[in-house]
């Protein structure tokens, strides 16, 4: 975490060049340069993220616009030209003549969006509650940590399913499709906050008694100001590691929910929804509808997991 400690106070007005110089001198960058696994998994993750962001430009076909589809193109094998539009289907097509390769761009975009949004949601919630628990202590700490303990003893997927079921009971069916993405983000986010809260509380307990916090208190800074401006930057290291690994978990969790049919509707397919619809055709021999979404899902999760593993080792002072 020395790169964080080395950052001077913001009043000094650093130029971009200075910031790059500080970054290039940090242990994190040195450790990154020395790890081929970290470089490769970053490259793979970046490639997938860029492909997802520019899906509209890069995808050969607008896969979820019914006008763009030609039914005669249905079930084209990989690397085969469609019977209707004579378009080349690199990864084949499904029963409606949808190009799997194009569908992947859109599906990945939705999977990443849900994953990132739910991780941010659980981070904000977990960091906030963890800071309050660690800094304030007393009864509120007891309450927050007890709830976290209880929640951590149940698997996240069970909690997400339950939240989803409750939301479905509360939201009228005709609004279901428009709210599905938000429901999933909240369900996955709520099922993962406890780990963040636990980590942040543990580090806050250590930081609370350090001199800089006492100095800030003497200067009359409010409790909120101390938590946000002084304690928070110093507890972020471990949180980043958990957030990275949680991103992989959240993407898999979303895929699982969508696969189970309680996630995103077929009109807004994520990777999990694509796999769900591909499963039907596996038994009749159209393997490509399932294989390619599954591959992207596994590659994405594996790359982010490896990145998280590297980050954990790089930020762990015991291993230096």
């Amino acid at each position: 975490m020395s790169h964080l400690a080395a950052t001077p106070p913001p009043r000094l007005k650093l130029t971009l060049k200075d910031r790059v110089a500080i970054w290039r001198d940090s242990d994190l960058w040195l450790s990154f340069k020395a790890s081929p696994v970290a470089i490769l998994s970053t490259a793979v993750t970046l490639l997938i993220v860029i492909a997802a962001i520019f899906a509209d430009v890069l995808a050969p076909q607008n896969a979820f616009d019914p006008v763009a589809l030609n039914l005669l193109d249905g079930f084209a094998h990989p690397m085969e030209r469609g019977m209707g539009s004579s378009m080349l289907f690199v990864m084949g097509s499904d029963e409606q003549g949808r190009d799997i390769f194009s569908a992947l761009f859109y599906g990945t975009r939705l999977s990443l969006l849900v994953g990132v949004a739910s991780v941010i949601f659980s981070m904000v919630l977990g960091i906030g509650l963890g800071l309050i628990a660690g800094y304030r202590g007393g009864k509120i700490e007891m309450l927050i940590m007890r709830v976290a303990d209880i929640q951590l003893s149940f698997p996240a997927i069970l909690i997400a399913l339950l939240i989803f079921g409750v939301a479905r009971g509360l939201i009228p069916p005709q609004q279901y499709e428009t709210t599905a993405v938000f429901v999933i983000i909240i369900a996955i986010g709520l099922s993962n906050w406890a780990q963040h809260a636990r980590t942040v509380r543990a580090s806050t307990l250590v930081e609370r008694n350090k001199e800089y916090v006492q100095a800030a208190r003497l200067m009359g800074i409010s409790g909120f100001g101390i938590m946000a401006r002084h304690v928070l930057p110093n507890v972020m290291g471990p949180v980043l590691v958990i957030a990275t690994i949680n991103l992989a978990l959240a993407i898999i969790e979303e895929a699982t929910l969508s696969f189970l049919g309680v996630g995103l509707p077929i009109t807004q397919p994520s990777l999990g929804t694509l796999i769900r619809s591909g499963q039907k055709y596996l038994l009749s021999g159209e393997w490509w509808i399932l294989l390619f979404p599954a591959m992207i899902l596994v590659i994405l999760a594996l790359a982010i997991n490896l990145l998280g593993d590297w980050l954990r080792d790089a930020l762990n002072p015991k291993l230096r």
Partner: protein, 325 residues
């Protein structure tokens, strides 16, 4: 020791009460308990009478107490979809999930421990490295993909094993079992591998790292110095000491096996509680959801409690810290 046991039981009861409260709020506030008894022609007066008969006008605390009283007698109301008592629906499906969970725990232990012991004894051999790589893949692959992959290989490509359902079930009255027929065991193989694979990699990694740690300790070195055979050192001295954490983790994982059964049961259309819970979530069948939540929570808390108490029996350090507190 007594203080430790009492405190743990107190915590367990607190957790169960919290879950019961959530489950009660689900039942009371998300779903409408009168829905199953009314139709479109029910008049307002009749509706009010039904609400009164059900006690829905009583104070919430009284209703909660009644909910717990009913739950203790396995009375969870009637399913919205099937119009049958929830307790009967769960009772019918309980054996299927339990047999699946048992088979996958056995698979995880019987395959995971030997693999872990081997990888711990010979960490640099090619087979141990292969185990490590396979376990990394096993952790990264989502459960449902493992299931689909197994179906594709063993059912579609080679036609060796059934791809879905629970066959060859013999009804014993209070319990229906698939263990007694060849058909039943065959249909159990793929689902239990799917469900147990993650736990297997977990146990393998745990046994491996524990073995490597124990092999570095002084008493193992001393045992070697005394001239004991490698077999006696490895299995009598080292393996025995690695098994304590393995027992704990396996016990705790039993709970998550039951929860992850939801996914496996869906992939294989296995007629267990998980599949029923998922269908209940899809159709917003609140009584089933709330009963399942309470049942799974009770199982979790019981397993955690038993593991903790066993651990205290095995490891004197925990007993002593319990006394000090």
């Amino acid at each position: 020791m007594l203080a430790f046991i009492l405190r743990r039981i107190g915590q367990a009861i607190l957790v169960l009460l919290t879950v019961a409260l959530i489950s009660f709020s689900l039942f009371r506030f998300v779903g409408d308990p009168t829905q199953q008894m009314t139709s479109q022609d029910t008049t307002l007066e009749e509706r009010l009478q039904i609400r009164k008969n059900l006690g829905l006008d009583d104070p919430v605390v009284v209703q909660f107490a009644r909910f717990i009283g009913n739950a203790a007698r396995f009375d969870f109301g009637v399913s919205y979809q099937n119009r049958q008592p929830v307790a009967k629906l769960i009772g019918d499906r309980f054996p299927a999930t339990m047999e699946l969970a048992f088979a996958s725990a056995m698979f995880a232990l019987l395959v995971g421990i030997p693999m872990g012991v081997y990888a711990g004894l010979k960490p640099n051999s090619w087979l141990a490295r292969l185990f490590q790589t396979v376990s990394l893949v096993g952790i990264s692959l989502p459960t449902f993909l493992i299931g689909i992959l197994l179906i594709f290989i063993f059912s579609v490509s080679f036609g060796l094993l059934p791809s879905f359902g629970r066959q060859g079930v013999i009804n014993l009255g209070f319990w229906s079992t698939g263990f007694l027929t060849w058909e039943g065991i065959r249909s159990l193989i793929l689902p239990s591998i799917t469900l147990g694979l993650f736990q297997m990699t977990l146990i393998m990694r745990l046994v491996r790292s524990e073995m490597m740690e124990v092999l570095r300790t002084d008493y193992v070195k001393f045992a070697k110095a005394r001239g004991l055979t490698p077999r006696a050192v490895n299995y009598r001295h080292a393996l025995k000491n690695t098994l304590i954490p393995v027992i704990t983790i396996t016990g705790l994982q039993l709970g998550s096996i039951i929860a992850f059964a939801i996914i496996t049961e869906t992939v294989f259309q296995w007629p267990g509680m998980g599949l029923m819970f998922l269908q209940a979530v899809q159709t917003v069948d609140i009584p089933i959801m709330s009963a399942y939540l309470l049942l799974v929570a009770t199982l979790f808390v019981l397993i955690n409690l038993i593991v903790d108490l066993l651990y205290a029996l095995v490891d004197p350090r925990i007993r002593l810290s319990g006394k000090a507190a």
